[in-house]
Amino acid sequence: MNEIAIEVNDLSKTYPKSKVKALDGVSFQVKTGKVLGLLGPNGAGKTTIVRILTTIIKQDSGSAKIFGLDLASRTHAIKQLIGLAGQYAAVDENLTGFENLTMISRLNHMNKVAAKSKALELLEKFDLIAAKDRTLKTYSGGMRRRLDLAASLVNNPAILFLDEPTTGLDPQSRLMLWDSIQNLVKSGTTVLLTTQYLEEADRLADTIIVIDHGRLIANGTPTDLKKRFGSSVISITLRNAEATDSATRLLSANFPNKLLSEDNTLKVISQDGPKLTLDVLRIIDANNIEIVGLNVSEPSLDDVFLTLTGQTIQEN
């Protein structure tokens, strides 16, 4: 078995219709059996990466390999090795759960008997067996997502692509889906997962790449990324906009490129928490600015993203 499951080199893609440069020279690798979290705001290019790697569209330039097979020349072989659960639950509303899975199995070129037993096996596994003969119109959002995930597994894929698998789900369904994904990983499946939720990437991914405007802007383990941008974040909340303005001016003079602001809360990122806290408080106090809240914590991925792009990840 190949050590590298996915290898992407300098991938670029411009959509002819919108002239949007969705990808602008992206490279990364995913090791077999690992989970890659592809993190970025809306429009960053996440789905475009997934669509290229799952053979749906072709890149304009650059290359990609799946288990050493070139995407351009070994399309058919690659299709048999991968599974895709797209951004929108791509299932047929008018068919039952059983019919959907049987259809997808047949289209994966399994014989009728095998297709039916695979469908039942997956319905069982995803706790949908009781709803197997109901049309999907009657399914809840969580059930559809589970069926969608089940549909991506009919061919026992070695690599699974999940495009925002939990977007729009309630917290409980999200936890259930996370569980299923973690079980798949345990059984050896390589996963490429896109998400707008930092918590999701933090929880599921071994490595994270952050993209914005089609460019890779950071790459590392969740812990790495947090460390690289400082080990502590001190947040102070100020009484009003005026106080926030003066504090922003003072702190940005002292901590260039380390300051983030959200409403009346300012955050400063540093490698040295205790010293930083004292420094910040000294400056604030010396200028008679009143603060109403203080908090020292480890940086979240949200903070990392904010530092990288100057915007919060769910802003748009």
């Binding site: 070994r74 048999q80 791509a90 068919l95 259809m103 047949r106 289209l107």
Partner: protein
């Protein structure tokens, strides 16, 4: 995994055709199941031609005297043509809907025959057309239509219609692939289908039309088809041979030969 790799290098023509057929059957079944799950859609798509039958039979019919034939016998072949043409519009609508909902994205990532997404749709629509045409036959008989030839000849007329509707379906496949959503696909279809259906010999003899329109109406493929099926079903006009039938087959095969590869090309160039 090594299995997969070895198999894929053996991919050849017979295999692709085998999978095209198998996948087409799977997709056809899927589309037909969908139709049965929305019986309202089938009901209303049948209701429309039934209303046309009643409208022309009882409202306009008496104002359109045609020599040597009862108007109802003149009308019903035209209604058949209108029915299958309007029915083939749903090919584009269904396809646009699938594209919109994202299920086609999944199909594109599967190792299935790509073309089967389209053939499964056009064949299912032809099957649906067969059901609708059968119902219209019943309605036709109820309002006084009678076959003036033989049952075999009548059935040949229906086959001619179905072949033409299959060809037109491929045109609407292209419409469906070009439309941003199913509503637009529908709106785009009617300007195409309306002039072809009504500026034809389907409801009135083209001789009654102004000259500029008459030339178009005489030679356009829908009139050719109407003339051919009218001859096959009710032997009208009695004194000519049915050269139109041959002409119509050529129109249909020609249209398929052009539209099918175009549709497949357009589909394979995913956006």
């Amino acid at each position: 995994m090594t299995d997969v790799l070895q198999n894929s290098t053996k991919t050849n023509w017979t295999k692709s055709i085998y999978w095209l057929v198998t996948d087409t059957l799977t997709m056809t079944k899927r589309n037909l199941i969908s139709y049965t799950r929305i019986p309202q859609a089938l009901f209303f798509s049948t209701l429309q031609p039934v209303m046309f039958v009643l409208l022309f039979r009882y409202v306009f019919g008496n104002a359109i005297p045609i020599k040597n034939i009862q108007y109802v016998n003149y009308l019903i072949p035209g209604i058949f043509v209108q029915t299958v043409l309007f029915g083939s519009v749903s090919t584009g609508i269904g396809l646009a809907e699938d594209l919109q909902k994202g299920i086609i994205e999944r199909f594109r990532a599967l190792p299935m025959s790509k073309m089967a997404v389209l053939t499964g749709r056009t064949i299912a629509d032809m099957a649906r057309n067969i059901v609708v045409v059968t119902i219209i036959t019943g309605v036709g008989f109820a309002v006084g239509f009678r076959i003036q030839t033989s049952v075999l000849s009548f059935v040949n007329g229906l086959l001619l219609l179905l072949l033409f509707s299959f060809a037109v379906s491929w045109g609407f496949t292209i419409v469906g692939l070009s439309a941003p959503n199913s509503e637009t696909a529908q709106v785009m279809s009617f300007p195409l289908i309306f002039p072809l259906t009504f500026a034809s010999s389907a409801f009135v003899p083209v001789a009654t039309m102004p000259t500029w329109l008459r030339d178009f109406a005489t030679y356009q493929p829908v009139s050719v088809l109407v003339d051919a099926s009218r001859k096959l079903m009710v032997n009208f006009p009695a004194n000519i041979s049915n050269w139109s039938a041959v002409e119509s087959i050529f129109w249909s095969l020609g249209a398929i030969a052009i539209l099918l590869p175009l549709a497949v090309y357009k589909f394979s160039k995913a956006k």
